[in-house]
Every structure is written in structure tokens, then in C-alpha cells.
């Protein structure tokens, strides 16, 4: 039950209300954020404040003393930007009371992120809260709202599919590798080609535990240079048949008109692999791996379209889950806000 002019509010400039060029204009560096905190504190009417400042969103949570509300904060913020309150008001969300609590839960759970369900925002909100707390800008209300809000966001992420499934191609490929090999520590990966997408996939595999890499290029010098940079053994693309059996995951992103990995090569290497599965990731355009390679029982071939389609399906599944997740956020914010109101009432009576 929030009132339009509750003393707890949030002002949010984000991708939902402001295009990129506007967000750029209103972005703040650490020094400006520090100045804003000080200004708000010195104004006297703002008891608590917290700034969430990410590359895609600027949010200011405040708890004002009685008689002051979000309008006052808006004026202060407009002054900090050097624009009129009316101009600023056209590019932001202003929410107060229970709605502000719900907004926080939705942001922390990734429901309001540009890429629905992304997990990084949770850490960013936690860091912003830690900073505000460290400098003494957070008080009773912000502490309660954020601590309870984090619990609600975790509940949403654990009980809905809003954060499930990878949505970028490199991570989708790594997830699939996990479903084939389990622990990636024991799986050796080979990158055919030294392009950017191959590098991203190698990095993603390494971050999930893969330790053994081969980097193949047409030129020995290039293979050695990139192998030093990415970490791995340099290989010559021309000798592929000789070392292919040593690898479990092959990431192909070579600029070539014809397939570099053919059905014949895979067939030849299968007897030396002793039944171990082979995961082929074809990121090349035109394709680097012959489609016939997937005819073998233990060979799993995914090309760019396959991976993109899985990423799209995962994203659609996340978006589907937003309805359920929002209902949880609504219910939890109601509960948190009512508890705050009761506590305030109790404190007023005590006074």
C-alpha cells in the first residue's frame, strides 16, 4: 500500500525509459556519485541514500525525513546534472513506497535487465549497497529493504526459470560441452582458427574448468603466437588428422571456402578415440565442418544456427518466467513494505 509521496523512493534512468544517448548523458563516474552522496547528505532532508550506477542504469534510492519526498530528491538530482527537473523527469521512472521495493526486487533478480534474467546485476546491486553502507548513507529503511530484497531476488532466481539457460553463443556451447563431458577438466579442446569467436569460446571453456587446449592455424607462427596468448599447444591446421583424436571438443572458426573437418577425417579418428564422444562446434561461415560428421553415434555437431536457436529458446523461456517472477516480487514487496510501515508505526507510538 504505497502512497504517491512516500518518504522512500527510487529514481531510475534505464533502458526502458531512456535511449542510449540519454543514458550516456546521465551516466556518472565514481567521483560524481561521491559528490551526489555528499550533496544529498548535506541537504539535510535525505536521511538515507543509495546509488546504483551500472553501464545500463542509474538509480537513486532515498529515504527522506517527514515532509520531504521524491520531488525534493528529483530537484536535487536535476541540479547535479545541471538540467531542469522537468527535462529530467521525462527520462526516468519514479517509484515510491511498496512500488520502489518491488522495483528493487525486480532489478536485483534481473527481470528489468535488457537481457532478461542476466545474473551480473545482482552482484552490482550488492556492491552498491555495500558502498552505501560502508560510507554510512544506508540506514534502517534501506538496510531492511535491500536485505529482504536480496532474499526475494534469490527466491525468484531459484524458483523460476528466469535465470536458466545460456543466452550467448559461447556459453551455450560450453553448457552443451558440460552435458556431454560433465567435468570439463578432463576434456581437451581444440580451436581451429584464431578468430574472436573462437577466443571467446576458449575463454568460456577455460572458465568452466577446461585445462587442455590446442590452437590450430594455417601458419606455425600464428599458431604459436595465439597459443601463447590464449594458453595451449600450437598446431598446424594441415596436420589435423594426426592430432584430432587427442581432442574432445573442436571449435572451428576458420575463414575457408571448404570444410576443414570432413566426415572421412572424423571416421578415421573415431577408432583411436575408444568410444569417447566428440563435440564439434562449427562457428565458421561458410561452415567449416562437414554435416556428415554427425552421422556417427558419438559425434555431436552444432553450428552457428543451432547455437543461436538454443540461445533464442532460452531467452524466450526466461521471458515466459517473468510473469511468475513478477508475481513473487509483488507479493514479497507487499510483505516487506507492510513490515516497514508497522515498524514505523510502532516507533512513532513509542516516541
Amino acid at each position: 500500500m504505497s502512497r504517491p509521496h512516500d518518504s522512500f523512493s527510487v529514481i531510475s534512468i534505464n533502458h526502458e525509459v531512456a535511449p542510449l544517448e540519454v543514458r550516456e548523458r546521465y551516466s556518472m563516474d565514481d567521483a560524481k556519485v561521491a559528490t551526489l552522496y555528499t550533496t544529498l547528505k548535506n541537504k539535510g532532508k535525505v536521511e538515507e541514500s543509495l546509488v546504483l550506477n551500472t553501464c545500463n542504469r542509474f538509480e537513486l534510492y532515498t529515504q527522506c525525513e517527514d515532509g520531504a519526498d521524491a520531488e525534493f530528491v528529483l530537484h536535487t538530482l536535476a541540479n547535479a546534472y545541471g538540467v531542469s527537473p522537468d527535462e529530467l523527469a521525462g527520462h526516468l521512472h519514479l517509484r515510491s513506497g511498496r512500488d520502489a521495493v518491488q522495483h528493487l526486487i525486480e532489478v536485483a533478480a534481473g527481470l528489468r535487465s535488457q537481457i532478461t534474467g542476466e545474473a551480473e546485476i545482482f552482484g552490482q546491486v550488492k556492491a552498491a549497497y555495500a558502498l552505501s553502507q560502508e560510507h554510512g548513507y544506508a540506514g534502517k529503511t534501506i538496510n531492511r529493504v535491500f536485505q529482504k530484497g536480496f532474499q526475494a531476488a534469490k527466491l525468484i532466481r531459484n524458483s523460476t526459470t528466469v535465470g536458466q539457460g545460456q543466452i550467448n553463443i559461447a556459453n551455450v556451447a560450453v553448457d552443451l560441452a558440460g552435458k556431454i563431458f560433465g567435468e570439463l577438466r578432463s576434456a581437451a579442446a581444440l580451436s581451429l582458427g584464431t578468430g574472436e569467436i573462437g577466443e571467446k569460446t576458449v575463454k568460456a571453456l577455460r572458465s568452466r574448468g577446461a585445462e587442455t587446449f590446442g590452437i590450430a592455424s594455417r601458419s606455425q607462427d600464428r599458431a604459436e603466437e595465439v597459443a601463447r596468448e590464449w594458453g595451449g599447444t600450437p598446431r598446424l591446421l594441415q596436420d589435423l588428422e594426426s592430432y584430432l583424436p587427442e581432442y574432445d571438443i573442436v571449435i572451428a572458426s576458420v575463414g575457408a571456402e571448404e570444410a576443414v573437418l570432413t566426415r572421412k577425417i572424423v571416421k578415421q579418428c573415431s577408432s583411436r578415440r575408444k568410444g569417447r564422444p566428440l563435440f564439434l562446434i562449427d562457428l565458421g561461415l561458410p561452415r567449416n565442418i562437414e554435416q556428415g560428421c554427425e552421422d556417427f553415434d558419438n559425434v555431436f555437431l552444432y553450428n552457428l544456427d543451432d547455437l543461436a536457436s538454443i540461445a533464442d529458446e532460452n531467452l524466450a523461456q526466461r521471458k515466459e518466467a517473468v510473469v511468475d517472477a513478477t508475481a513473487i516480487a509483488e507479493q514479497k514487496s507487499e510483505f516487506i513494505w507492510n513490515a516497514i510501515l508497522k515498524r514505523r508505526e510502532y516507533e512513532r507510538n513509542q516516541a
Binding site: 531459484n158 524458483s159 526459470t161 536458466q164 539457460g165 552443451l176 558440460g178 552435458k179 556431454i180 563431458f181 560433465g182 575408444k274 568410444g275 569417447r276 564422444p277 554427425e294 553415434d297 558419438n298 555431436f300 552444432y302 543451432d306 536457436s309 538454443i310 529458446e313 532460452n314 523461456q317
Partner: protein, 290 residues
């Protein structure tokens, strides 16, 4: 001796156990497929263990009634096999750390238990206690059925392998059971270990049975001998081919499922031979199970 224990008859205990297995299966499947989240392993393990304890009480009550291990008709053979499979899941399963194995195991137990309870002619009242003059025969029978329990779990993990492999091959990897199933490399390794375990137990069982058979060549019918040896040979060939890497994981999984189904049919042959070799007029005659 009565078949009533703690106020309930043997079959009532088994019915309650079956309901617990069914509930576990429904709960686990609903959670994975509808809610898209995995029920915690401790909950599933707890529920399956509860069902297993109830089933154990039921089988114990039946054993008390006849003064021996209840292994003398189709109903009891199937119940003992289910009991063994669940025991494997409870005591060995946690070491494998296979997601959804509890759900699959409870489904397996539920299906076979309902089948054995529903087909009344399986519970032939002319049953004779398996205890004969030699306790080795009971060991032989119990070990053989225990190995069938292991092969039952192997069938489940093989089915899980095929499901996972098919999802990866057809690229249908969003939703369904895919996110909850273990990796195929883990399943392949578990399948191999289960086959070695089941085959070893069956071999020991047959060795004991062979010793008994050599003492009394008339005691075992040809159909029973042939079917059990055929099952043993089939598993031996599968294991040998797998160890030589001459069988792909997919073919290996299909072979494990096929042989288990055939092994189940061999139980019918065993049951028939039990009846034939134990004429009701001679109560002291022992019967055996392979």
C-alpha cells in the same frame, strides 16, 4: 505363521510401498517437467527409502508366513527384483550422484510392483518355500535376483543415456528432462560399472547353482537352464564388446535394455520350472530360481 505384521497383511504393506513409489515418481516428474526444477536428492532418496522399508516389511511378513525367503512365484520374484533395484539405488546410487535416478527408480518400482499386484495369477498360492535341504540354493536364487536388480538400474541409466544422447543429437536441449539429466560421459561410466557389478553377482550365483545342478541333474529344467545361461552369455558378450570398444555407447545402452527385457521373460521360465519341479504332493521338495 500369519502374514500379518504390525496389523497389516504382507500385500497391504507392498501396496502402501507402491503408492509411495508412485508418489515419488509423480512428484519428481512434475517438479522437473512442469515446475522446471529438480527435487532435492535428499527428498527423493528419503521417499524412496521409506517405500523400500515398507516393501521390506511386506516381504518379511510374507517370508514369516512361509518360513523362508519369499522367492517361489512370479509375484515374489518380481517383488524381490524391485526390492534389489531400489536397494542398489539407495546404497550405491548416492556414489554415482546421478540426477533423476531416484525418479526413474521409483517409476521402475511403481510399474513392476503394480504389474505384479494386478496380475493375480502371478501370486500362485501353490508356492513352496525355496528353502530346501541346502541353504546354498537360497543364496543362489537371492544373488541371481539381486543381479537382476542391478540390471534393472542399468536399464534405467541406459534409458537416461539414450534420452540425453537423443536430445543432444536432435538439438532439443531446452526444457524437458534435458537440464536435469547427467552428462553422457558420466552415464557411460556408470553403465559400465553397473554391468560389471551385475555380471559378477550373476556369475557367482550361477556358479553356486551349477554346483547344486551337478549334484542333482534332474533338479533343473532345460528351459530354465537355457534361459539363464542365455542371459548370462548375452551380458558377457555385451561386456566384452564394450571393454574392447567394439560397441558404441548407444548400441551398448540398447543392448542393456534389450537383454534386461529378455531376462524378465526368463523369470517366467524360472517360475514355470519352479512349479514343475515342485509337485504339491511333495512338500519337502525344494525349488530354485536363477
Amino acid at each position: 505363521m500369519s502374514n500379518v505384521l504390525l496389523g497389516l497383511a504382507d500385500k497391504q504393506w507392498i501396496w502402501i510401498a507402491t503408492v509411495v513409489f508412485a508418489s515419488t515418481f509423480v512428484l519428481g516428474s512434475y517438479s522437473a517437467l512442469k515446475l522446471r526444477r529438480k527435487t532435492g536428492r535428499p527428498y527423493i532418496l528419503g521417499l524412496v527409502t521409506f517405500g523400500w522399508v515398507l516393501q521390506t516389511i511386506g516381504l518379511y511378513a510374507r517370508g514369516l508366513q512361509y518360513g523362508g525367503c519369499p522367492l517361489s512365484n512370479q509375484f515374489e520374484l518380481v517383488q524381490f527384483m524391485v526390492w534389489s533395484a531400489i536397494a542398489i539405488y539407495i546404497f550405491v546410487g548416492p556414489a554415482f550422484r546421478v540426477s533423476l535416478l531416484g525418479v526413474f527408480a521409483s517409476g521402475f518400482a511403481c510399474v513392476f510392483s503394480i504389474l505384479s499386484l494386478a496380475l493375480e495369477n502371478w501370486d500362485d498360492p501353490s508356492r513352496k518355500p525355496i528353502f530346501g535341504e541346502s541353504p546354498w540354493i537360497e543364496t543362489h536364487a537371492a544373488l541371481a535376483l539381486f543381479s537382476y536388480g542391478v540390471f534393472g538400474v542399468l536399464t534405467l541409466t541406459s534409458a537416461m543415456y539414450l534420452l540425453q544422447s537423443r536430445s543432444l543429437k536432435t538439438k532439443k536441449v531446452v526444457g524437458g528432462l534435458f537440464p536435469f539429466l547427467p552428462s553422457i560421459v558420466e552415464l557411460v561410466s556408470i553403465n559400465r560399472r553397473l554391468l560389471v557389478m551385475g555380471f559378477s553377482i550373476l556369475t557367482v550365483s550361477l556358479a553356486i547353482g551349477y554346483r547344486y545342478f551337478m549334484e542333482d541333474l534332474e533338479s533343473v529344467l532345460t528351459i530354465k537352464l537355457a534361459s539363464t545361461v542365455a542371459v548370462w552369455i548375452a551380458y558377457a558378450i555385451t561386456l566384452a564388446l564394450r571393454l574392447k570398444f567394439s560397441l558404441t555407447s548407444k548400441k551398448f545402452a540398447w543392448a542393456c535394455i534389450g537383454i534386461f527385457l529378455a531376462a524378465l521373460l526368463s523369470l517366467a521360465a524360472v517360475n514355470r520350472s519352479t512349479k514343475s519341479s515342485s509337485p504339491t504332493a511333495e512338500p519337502a521338495q525344494s525349488s530354485e530360481v536363477s
